[in-house]
Subunit: 342 residues, 2 copies
DNA sequence: CTGTTAGCGCGTTCAT
DNA sequence: ATGAACGCGCTAACAG
């Protein structure tokens, strides 16, 4: 490969001139700069990554720790990893993938060796060991997700409590009075993956505030049928349903309701909330309050870049407000004059 | 961070002694070596990645290019990326993720800047632009998948043709005489994603050799029902079915057959072949010839490491022999004395 | 506006 | 078996 020396020689200037002409960190006469640029392009010159890193003390690499639990949704996982990577590239960073048992050690390693300038943490549990580690590391860390103790941490995530409240509000605005929630499987909750809990709390708080009849279900299987039947057992005349669950369960809820003679949206209005998947191609599409990977990831990456580049960080948690996608699965209850949603 | 100088001082030796004590590239007296190791452990010393890279001309990083097409299966994608990453870590390499429109440029960049020691290519098309690029790059590249022109390339993949033949053989051994193949959606085939084509060819060749009645179907939807109906339209008395298709279609094939009064395995014996997903939790599990991500990825990563570390590469394509997982979805046809499978 | 030069931290050759 | 010293390619402080 061509080095900066080759370019300098070809352009008839010194190597610092080449460096500055390419980085733009100080002004160079238009004509000489063009000569440098031409020479660089001609030689196909790109600065050696490690030399640049060593000298500038910056690698332009973010590490991404993404452990895989038995119950994690590979598809959602990939989407987050990709969105982080895309957002990072937009800011001129590459991303190193840290997985499996290396999710924790990899954080230490990439920080201690100055491999990475910063670390993005995915799939955060309530009591995530990576939270403690992040507090010890000198390396900047941003969490996509919120552990229980956020002291000293920078976190970004959908506002799941607000998402749950928004779902309830929409159903209530449509005159729905008996609301069921289908949550995540027990195994996910017990691992204390954090967002289902936050959604659950938001739901409970809001229905309590509004004095709404409600029931919460944890699916025993990966199918919607049993979940729907659990809801109907507990609340036969349910007229509103919130789905904060995985795609396997959610995709078969429509058929399960139909099987029990309940139509969507008339008998039961349904909203999928805090979910990464689209319901657009479901047999029955649902109104959705998405967990928007793009929004979370680009926000997180931008924060991390800012922290790295300005070394100014105020630890704080950023909650992204929920948005609402109408697919026609919520309709006014019989005899109910719809009130405007909040 | 502690530098090698700190360790040298703490151990009362020179930096080269530290370097050799840690790398083991030349022998050091037991006692001094232990002093060095202790000092290093005590200081939490890890060599600076870029300094090490600059001096050794090796980054211990592999780049992984994994573009995402509209029809790619996120879940399978993630599994491959993870398996590559795990295999790489086992050999002391980290992996850089290259996605989206950066899949091609990223290859150039990571090679030209010496960011990566080698490149793993995922999701290979028949006419993949990354194949030409790989031929030009000085950087070692291994493909997981096989493009049409493999001249000068190193490729690793499941032997899809053998997998198709194995599926046919198993059905024939069970006395099945009219075999249907449900392939991938048209959009996947037309992009010339390569493995469905290779599977298709293997299937066609082998049924032709054996003189077996057969029919091939390309699903029009993402559901098994229409696909099964297409098969039944073309071949009402089908008694063997090979599924080389996506999880959405495959998971609903069992129910679709039942709906048309066909039982598995008696009326129709079914094999899923060349698929990344497990059918174990399907309503009706199928015998499976898996596309084993772990096998392909660790083989590819080991080859790449070998090429990087010995700079000895003979371009060649390695096809991994298919394996068979019995789930009870294949049974002898009525009146057929089962013959031993090959 | 441009050139000179001192490191960045480590691997490795050459001496001893 | 150990140490001294050079150089990897680049950035940035300093000098003009």
């Amino acid at each position: 490969m061509a080095t900066i020396d080759d370019v300098a020689r070809a352009a008839g200037v010194s190597i610092s001139t080449v460096s500055y002409a390419l980085s733009g960190k100080r002004s160079i006469k238009e004509s000489t700069r063009n000569r440098v640029l031409d020479a660089a392009a001609h030689l196909g010159y790109l600065p050696n990554a490690s030399a640049r890193t060593l000298a500038a003390n910056r690698s332009q690499i973010f590490a991404v720790t993404a452990p895989l639990h038995p119950d994690t949704d590979h598809s959602a996982h990939m989407v987050f990893a990709m969105e982080v990577t895309k957002a990072a590239r937009d800011l001129d960073y590459d991303t190193l993938l840290l997985v499996h048992n290396d999710a924790l050690d990899g954080m230490k390693r990439s920080a201690a060796t100055s491999l990475a300038d910063g670390i993005i943490v995915l799939d955060v549990d309530a009591h995530d060991p990576r939270a403690d580690l992040a507090r010890q590391l000198a390396c900047p860390v941003v969490f996509i997700g919120v552990p229980e103790d956020t002291t000293g941490l920078v976190c970004v995530d959908l506002d799941f409590e607000a998402a749950a409240a928004l779902a309830v509000d929409r159903l209530v605005a449509a005159g729905r009075k008996r609301i069921g929630l289908i949550s995540h499987p027990e195994e996910t909750l017990s691992r204390e993956s954090n967002f289902p809990l936050r959604f659950l709390h938001g739901f409970e708080r809001h229905v309590a505030e509004l004095g709404i009849e409600h029931v919460e279900i944890t699916p025993r299987t990966h199918r919607g049928l049993e979940a729907v039947e659990d809801v109907l057992d507990a609340m036969p005349d349910v007229d509103g349903l919130v789905l904060n669950t995985n795609v396997d369960v959610a995709s078969s809820v429509g058929a399960a309701l139909a099987l029990h003679g309940k139509s969507v949206p008339t008998d039961v209005s349904v909203i999928a909330a805090g979910v990464t998947f689209s319901t657009a191609r479901f047999p029955v599409p649902f109104d959705t309050i998405p967990l928007d990977a793009h929004a979370s990831c680009s926000a997180a990456v931008e924060m991390l870049a800012r922290i790295v580049e300005t070394s100014a960080s105020l630890p704080e948690t950023t909650l992204i407000p929920p948005t609402y996608i109408d697919q026609g699965s919520v309709a006014p209850a019989f005899g109910h004059a719809p009130t405007p949603a909040r």
